[in-house]
């Protein structure tokens, strides 16, 4: 009898201990986790890391659909008033309760000087505490996409920040180190056990998390590995379980190995070519006294000279999705209504001749070579394709630090023809229409600030303004479609493709791959 009891007890003990068997996930990314302060740098890798520890009022699911997060539900009693009902019984990792005060505090902090997330919450939005678990947001004008980016506006604890002198985000010009950059106190499924910036970060599950864990990990060790070859070697030798990204040229090698494989899928970022359409004479061209890119026929000729299938098969090794739109198909329901014009070298030549350049012309091109997947090689391929219609392109491919210093507003948009990639931060078309396709002519507005070549059509701008405040979804989609059609017909840009995600994953690990390239630990299981 006694023996039986002992055996039973031992079995019971073993059963209860079973989930506690160490499941350590080792994860390596090209990018660093630099600061733990969730308002310091708005960048995908950082946001994804911190999303394991911190949570927003909303979350995004595996398909990127908006889901309840720290807010259980919300409603818009009037177009300019949103009401958020907060989840009860949520605790921060230091044991404090989560309440409306923390939301109000975070709304101030995220808009403070030194935050890189100031646009997450409209400047003039007022946050009103109705009770401890209800918050009203009062807007000055209707905004149907108010909460579209709130999944990465992470809520911080007011008391914790005040106690640790971290009420304001640390600006880059700070002279004292920031507490919040080294310590984290979120409500999320993981907490940070140790963090050495740029070297190693250890995550542990948060036993007090309000949700039901979908992962089975007991520890996560994150190491940044910058070098492509090292990252791949670490995966192949079994020293890490997940790497992001796998360079295109190594995908086959990883798939051929016994212990790992590559997960691929289209990414949301759209890679495109743009033209300087604003200067009266291009900065880098042999055409003097006029700007050939102001003529839509020239832009159309360039478009039709680009052999997108060749770029896909040769440069991208099949891992790209050619695009006719400036936004990823996942983010706009009517994207299938747009089809790229066919490759037509003779037609392109004729268009150039009609525009007055029967022998083509010479133009400089700016391209990053360490920012997007095979960016430098895409530009080189484009140079060859444009040579076939008589255009001589002088390619200037350089590292991103120098590239962006030259082509962005801070560098006075010094480019004639360029390659860029864009993911709308809001996952909504308005962002693309406003930032990339909006006219730059009003110096008091941020419209078109990333429209490096100033493609401009006032009709599109008028639609963009209506899209911002239209709350009827179907009507809004029709207007977005109309706006994209204007840009499409103007040949304002040459969209190229969505590049592919490439995560290297050990065969005993299962992970949900989200199209925004966020590696989220709470969806990972390991056998």
């Amino acid at each position: 009898m006694f023996r039986k009891t002992v055996i039973l007890a031992a079995t019971a003990l073993a059963l209860t201990m079973a989930p506690a068997f160490a499941k350590t996930l080792r994860y390596a990314n090209q990018g660093d986790l630099k600061s733990l302060d969730p308002y310091t740098l708005n960048e995908t890798t950082t946001n994804a890391h911190l999303g394991n520890v911190y949570e927003g009022l909303t979350k995004r699911g595996k398909d990127l659909a908006i889901q309840p997060g720290l807010a259980e539900r919300w409603e818009t009693p009037e177009p300019t008033r949103w009401r958020f009902y907060l989840r009860k019984g949520v605790k921060f990792q230091n044991g404090e309760d989560f309440t409306a005060d923390d939301v109000l505090f975070s709304a101030d902090r995220v808009r403070a000087q030194g935050s890189n997330f100031q646009t997450r919450v409209p400047k003039d939005a007022k946050f009103v505490k109705v009770d401890d678990y209800t918050v009203d947001v009062v807007l000055s004008s209707p905004n149907p996409i108010l909460n579209s980016q709130w999944d990465t506006w992470y809520i911080m604890s007011k008391k914790w920040a005040e106690a640790n002198n971290a009420v304001a985000p640390t600006p880059a010009a700070a002279t004292t180190p920031s507490y919040a950059a080294l310590n984290a106190n979120g409500t999320g499924p993981f907490k940070i056990e140790s963090h050495q910036a740029g070297v190693k970060t250890v995550f542990k599950p948060n036993p007090g998390w309000w949700g039901k864990p979908e992962h089975n990990l007991t520890e996560v060790i994150f190491t940044p590995i910058n070098s492509d070859a090292t990252r791949v070697a670490a995966l192949l030798s079994g020293e890490v379980d997940i790497i992001e990204p796998v360079p295109l040229q190594d995908i086959q090698r990883v798939n051929a190995s016994a212990n790992a494989q590559v997960l691929t899928g289209p990414e949301l970022r759209t890679i495109f070519l743009g033209f300087d359409q604003t200067r009266d004479e291009l900065l880098e061209s042999n055409v003097k006294g006029k700007n050939p890119f102001k003529d839509p026929r020239v832009r159309e000729a360039f478009y039709k000279a680009i052999d997108i299938e060749a770029i896909k098969t040769r440069v991208m090794r099949g891992l790209s999705t050619p695009s006719a739109l400036m936004i990823a198909p996942e983010l706009f329901v009517y994207s299938k209504d747009f089809v790229r014009p066919k490759l037509d070298v003779d037609g392109a030549k004729k268009l150039l001749a009609d525009a007055g350049y029967p022998n083509g012309f010479e133009v400089g091109m700016d391209c990053p070579n360490d920012r997007y997947v095979n960016d430098g090689a895409i530009c080189q391929a484009a140079v060859g394709m444009l040579a076939r219609i008589g255009v001589k392109v002088n390619l200037n491919a350089q590292p991103k630090a120098q590239f962006f210093a030259k082509v962005l507003k801070s560098g006075d948009y010094k480019t004639s023809f360029y390659l860029l990639g864009w993911t709308p931060g809001t996952f909504d078309s308005h962002n693309v229409l406003f930032d990339i396709m909006g006219c730059r002519d009003n110096p008091n507005s941020n419209r078109g600030e990333s429209n490096l070549g100033n493609y401009c059509n006032k009709k599109l701008d008028a639609l963009t303004d209506q899209i911002l405040v239209e709350t009827d979804v179907e009507k809004r989609n029709q207007m977005i479609k109309e706006a994209f059609k204007i840009g499409f017909d103007d040949y304002g840009y040459i969209p190229l493709h969505q590049q592919s995600l490439a995560w290297g994953v050990a065969k005993n690990v299962k992970v949900a791959q989200r199209a925004d390239n966020s590696v989220l630990l709470y969806w990972i299981t390991k056998d």
Binding site: I225, A233, S410, N446
Partner: protein
Amino acid sequence: MLAFILRRIAQSVVVLLTVGLIAFALFRLVGDPINQIVSLDTPQEQRLKIRAELGLDDPVIVQFGRYLARAAHFDFGISYQFRQPVSTLIGERMPATLELSLVAALFSLVVGIPMGVYTALRRGSALSSAFMALSLAGVSLPTFLIAILLRYVFSVQLGWLPSFGRGAVVQLGFWSTGLLTPSGLKAIILPSITLGLFQMTLIMRLVRAEMLEVLRTDYIKFARARGLSDRAIHFGHALKNTLVPVITIAGLQLGSLIAFALITEYVFQWPGMGALFLGAVQNVDIPIMAAYLMLIAFIFVMVNLVVDILYAVVDPRLRAHFQTA
């Protein structure tokens, strides 16, 4: 002698200042740090504000002056990327770099000297030819290629040694060491071989040349005539006399081992100062770049200063020269 040392120190300060000024002038060409501090969709007025706060609009000489004034109080600023004091970051990373460099230097001496002696004594033997061929490869193959080869064989194929990182470390006060744990010892093998291989071949060739030279001298012939054993002649007399230039070179090269560890660190994701610096260059993190460059310049200047002083101490002829000069 004192005047000589003071003069050398004054010269060193000038060198340091020059390095700093050149570094600050070059930072303008690395790119705009603001693009790395904020995301792409950040409005322009916010960018301008950050620029002004960081003092990036001031002339180079003003920026440099401000930097020096703060550096005089051992305040090297806050990293743009990490928002942590640069002195803390470099302090955390320095043990990794120094351990790697010292182990690499040790490896180059322990392996290089015997190989040099052997190739000098057994000229023309098959093993000597093999050593010489190996040394040629060591001199001509670039570091990153050696690293990739070693890692492919020993990590990916054989799985004996880790492919990246430093393994487990033990904290001894401010110093973190990987030399006291099994995983740390395993982790240092490939990076230190990679880093020390060039040095090793250099030392091997130097020892060989010096040995051949010494073996031809009269006192070696005389020792043979006296009937001393080969062992006593080779190691007691010949090798001893070859070691003076070897030690000089090895000492001087220690500075470059530390400075050039950055490629090895990058390839093996070794958490040292060099990897920190490369990351800083990619992200235009000026405070880290400035501090690292100044530190490396300081190390070089110090090593040279010490070597100069040692020469004076060791060689009476130089001392006499200093007194008259």
